[in-house]
C-alpha cells in the first residue's frame, strides 16, 4: 500500500526557507504572495493491506522519526 505523509512546521514556528522564497517571488513581480511555507512530503510503500494497521504503524514512524514533535505536525493519507 502507498502512503503519503506530509510533515508541516507549525504556523507559530519561523520558516526561514519559506520567507526567502516569498521574497524571491515578490522580487519576480508576484506582489500578491503574502506567505510561503515549505513542508516535507514522504511517499512510503508498506507491505501490508490492513488500513488500520498501516495507519497506526505510519503514525508511529512519524512520532519516532519523520516529524520533530517540537516543531512539526503530520498528516497521513493512504493512497489507492
Amino acid at each position: 500500500m502507498k502512503v503519503r505523509v506530509e510533515v508541516t512546521r507549525r504556523p507559530e514556528i519561523a520558516d526561514p526557507q519559506g520567507t526567502t522564497i516569498k521574497r524571491a517571488l515578490q522580487d519576480l513581480g508576484h506582489a500578491d504572495v503574502s506567505e510561503v511555507r515549505v513542508n516535507s512530503v514522504f511517499y512510503l510503500e508498506i507491505d501490508d493491506a490492513d488500513h488500520d494497521a498501516v495507519r497506526s504503524n505510519v503514525e508511529n514512524m512519524c512520532r519516532q522519526l519523520l516529524a520533530n514533535p517540537v516543531l512539526e505536525d503530520f498528516d497521513i493519507e493512504l493512497l489507492p
Binding site: E12, I13, A14, P16, L65, V70, L71
Partner: protein, 214 residues
C-alpha cells in the same frame, strides 16, 4: 577520568575536540556511535559535523545510534554531557535538551568569529566563567537558530549580536540540572593563539573542572 568523544558517520570535529581537551591536560578518546556502553568514561562530548549527512533533519538519525542509550543515562545521572554545533542538534533531537535548531534566519551558512556573553555559570560548560564575561569563538553552522516553542530551556551563553535569529540570542542552552549543555559556536577551535583566539578554553576548562575524580 576520560571524556568520550562520540563519532557518528559524518562527524568532522572529533580530532579538534580531543586535541583541545588533551592540550588542557584532560584525557579524551574517540568512541564510535555503534558502541553500546560508556564503561571507563566519565563524560561525553558530541562534536560538530554532519552526522548521517544531516539527512531528514540535523541529528534526527543520530539520536537512534546505539551509543545514545548510554549518553542518555549519563545525562540522567548528572554526568557532564556537552554537544557542540551538530552535537547540540543531536541533543535536542534526542530530547536531552529542550527546543530544536532550525535554519539560520537569513538562510546563510555563517562561518566567522562571534562575540558571546556568559549569562549563567551554573553549568558544566560555564562554571569557570564570570557572569557577563565576553568571549570570542567561531560560529560555523547553517541550522544554528534555536527555537523553543514552549519556552523551556536555560540560555547560558548569548550572542552579543544576533547572527542567526536564535531565540533570546541563545548560543548555548542547558538542561535544568546544568549537566547537559549544547553550544552552537566552537570552543575547541579557539584554544590556540594560532587560531586567533584562546577564549574557548574558558568553556573547556569549565568542562574539565566539572569532572569528578573516580
Amino acid at each position: 577520568m576520560t571524556t568520550a568523544v562520540v563519532v557518528f558517520p559524518g562527524t568532522n570535529c572529533e580530532h579538534d575536540v580531543v586535541s583541545a581537551i588533551t592540550g588542557l591536560g584532560g584525557s579524551a578518546r574517540l568512541v564510535w556511535h555503534r558502541e553500546t556502553d560508556l564503561e571507563g568514561y566519565d563524560s561525553v562530548i558530541l562534536p560538530g559535523g554532519f552526522a548521517h549527512g544531516d539527512a531528514l533533519r540535523t541529528g534526527a538519525i543520530a539520536r537512534f545510534s546505539p551509543i545514545m542509550g548510554p549518553v542518555a543515562r549519563f545525562a540522567d545521572e548528572g554526568m557532564p554531557v556537552v554537544g557542540i554545533c551538530n552535537g547540540f542538534q543531536v541533543l535536542c533531537e534526542a530530547g536531552l535538551l529542550p527546543g530544536a535548531l532550525i535554519a539560520n534566519r537569513d538562510l546563510s551558512f555563517i562561518c566567522r568569529y562571534v562575540d558571546v556573553e556568559i549569562t549563567d555559570t551554573a553549568t558544566v560548560l560555564t562554571n569557570n566563567g564570570e557572569p557577563g564575561q565576553r568571549l570570542r569563538i567561531p560560529l560555523n553552522s547553517y541550522e544554528g537558530n534555536w527555537v523553543s516553542p514552549d519556552g523551556e530551556g536555560r540560555v547560558v551563553v548569548r550572542y552579543a549580536d544576533d547572527p542567526n535569529g536564535s531565540t533570546d540570542r541563545a548560543a548555548a542552552v542547558a538542561n535544568a540540572a546544568g549537566n547537559v549543555v549544547g553550544i552552537m559556536p566552537h570552543p575547541e577551535r579557539a584554544t590556540d593563539p594560532l587560531l586567533g583566539s584562546t577564549d574557548g578554553e574558558v568553556f573547556l576548562r569549565s568542562f574539565l573542572s566539572s569532572l569528578v575524580p573516580a
